[in-house]
């Protein structure tokens, strides 16, 4: 393939990565924004979403579309409930002390991951996409008769991948409406502004925190359900999304929701593009170093505002 079509292919793959990443990182960002909690177990909620999706699809055993839709509802609910439970049982009891919270969520990471290994096993398992048409894509070429369209071999995307991008955008849109237009969203943002003030106004802060922690995990689970027909479910699959979500949330400015989306697109696209043209390991080395440097020299994030 020539450079042009190759780049376009890389960008399409990058867009899929970016869409999933935006969802997953948004979960991390909402939790950090409202609760000031750094959830190291976030990647494991993602992994659980994928594993539950496989379980639901395999148990129902009907048409892939039915299993997929069921998974898209069930997995986020279960994962969200589990996360809320963890919040009530563990994080609330240590008063969200920042350092102890990180240590506890590291513990939670291993419990979820290794618990999955014991029950689900070490194998990667596929989920069938609900639909999967190959769509060949055209490219333009300056030929003898001026501009001409042609279909380069290998330049294609599946309908399912396009659906992933659209679905992720729709979920994020719904989240935005929820945060800005509903009472529950208002309560969340009030709690984010000032939890003591919120408590004084009678907002049940403990319950809000449990719900927010559940919502954050559910967003990761949704991202995982969307990706699992493309990547298989595996008990170690939470590692990379965790790292990338961290990168996105930090570059986007900790807790800034628009910043998170912009950074997800930036990181997802460049990860896709760099991985196609260079070594993916090198891409990850550069990305992690970049994040460390951002934290060191611009802790408010590249896109965040400087604190007064």
């Amino acid at each position: 393939m020539e450079f042009g079509p190759h780049l376009m292919l890389a960008m399409l793959e990058g867009a899929v990565t970016a869409a999933i990443l935006a969802l997953t990182a948004m979960g991390l960002s909402v939790v950090f924004g409202v609760m000031r909690v750094v959830n190291v177990a976030h990647g494991e909620f993602y992994m659980l979403g994928a594993v539950i999706a496989w379980f639901v699809a395999a148990t129902l055993g009907t048409h892939p579309a039915v299993g997929f839709v069921a998974a898209l509802v069930i997995a986020p609910l279960l994962v969200g409930a589990l996360a809320s439970l963890a919040d009530v049982l563990i994080l609330q009891r240590i008063n969200y002390d920042p350092e102890r919270t990180i240590v506890a969520t590291i513990g939670l990471l291993y419990i979820l991951q290794q618990g999955t290994l014991m029950t689900f096993g070490p194998d990667a398992r596929p989920v069938e996409p609900p639909f999967n048409h190959r769509l060949a894509l055209p490219w333009v070429e300056w030929g003898e008769q001026g501009l001409a369209l042609y279909w380069p071999w290998g330049l294609s995307i599946t309908s399912y991948k396009l659906f992933v991008i659209v679905a992720a955008a729709a979920i994020l849109g719904a989240l935005w409406l929820f945060m800005t237009r509903t009472r529950a969203g208002l309560v969340m943002r009030a709690t984010q502004q000032d939890s003591n003030m919120a408590r004084a106004f009678g907002i049940p802060v403990a319950r809000v925190y449990a719900l927010v922690f559940g919502l954050g995990a559910a967003l990761a689970a949704m991202g995982a359900v969307l990706i699992v027909p493309i990547q298989q479910a595996h008990y170690l699959m939470g590692h990379d999304p965790l790292l990338l979500s961290f990168i996105v949330v930090i570059i986007g400015g900790l807790g800034s929701l628009p910043g998170t989306i912009i950074a997800a697109i930036l990181i997802g696209m460049s990860d896709g593009i760099i991985s196609v043209f260079f070594s993916p390991t090198l891409a990850k080395i550069l990305a992690t170093l970049a994040v460390a440097m951002v934290l060191v020299f611009r802790p408010q994030g590249l896109l965040g505002k400087k604190a007064a």
Partner: protein, 312 residues
Amino acid sequence: MSHRDTFLHLSVIAVLFAAFFVLPAYHSGSLARIMVLAIYAMGYNLAFGYTGLLSLGHALFFAAGMYGLGLTMQLGGWAAIPAFALALVASLVVAGVVGVLALRTRGVGFMIVTLMFAQAGYLTALYFVQYTRGDEGFVIDQAARAIGPADLSSEAGRYFAALFLFAVTLLVIGALVRAPFGRTLIAIRENEARATMLGYDVQRLKWIALVVSGTISGAAGAAYALLFGYAGASFAGVQYSIFPLLYVLLGGAGTTLGPLIGAIFMFYLIDLSSGITNAYMLIAGVVLVLLTMFLPHGILGTLRKRALPWLP
């Protein structure tokens, strides 16, 4: 008071010395490994337990020592002692550079920055797969693993080399934390703003603490490679940054013997559970959660609070 500390430390060393002749071979082999891991945790404890620097990236320093020794011995054909010296320099330099950058942040920022640096180090080890052989790792020739006539790959050689290094580290750290330097590090952990306003150059002291901590961790990594004859990228991974945190939290942060106690407990917990299931890290997760919830001061820290206030 300080005599009591020294006496306690010397007794522990004597017990470990005697243990080799009493314990069956399997356990003395485990104990050699535990002592090396305890050195790593003691190094970590200096930063986390004494200075309050919660790093999630010490595997970077451990790996710097491990590869510093492993690569020079295996690829450069160096002898054990110069390779060990180079490993110390390597981890010292890495800790120095990471310290300058990471110490510009604090708290959660510091945790994430150290995590990211260590991750970059792990990926770098994977990237140079033709030298490091990545996760699979490489074996260091048995013949080279000797200092003069002492064969460090033999059961006894390995055990007493580990004990020697452990003893030196324990006595050095014991002296360090009793000295004004160590007391000042504790002051920084307790109240950084106040320490600054007593005229201490907090930033510089934290850097020194991190460099010493990183170098001890590097010594542990080099010793691990030398005594067990293997270096691999998995030792640079997140898990190996979590282990010393786990040992120190369990044994008691800011206690001289906590790292050893924590390493013994965790090693055997994981050893026993890996006989039952391949999900042996589950036990580490459960212990981490329970510790943060119910025993934040760890075993020796709680003992010191409740019964033995003199415990070093």
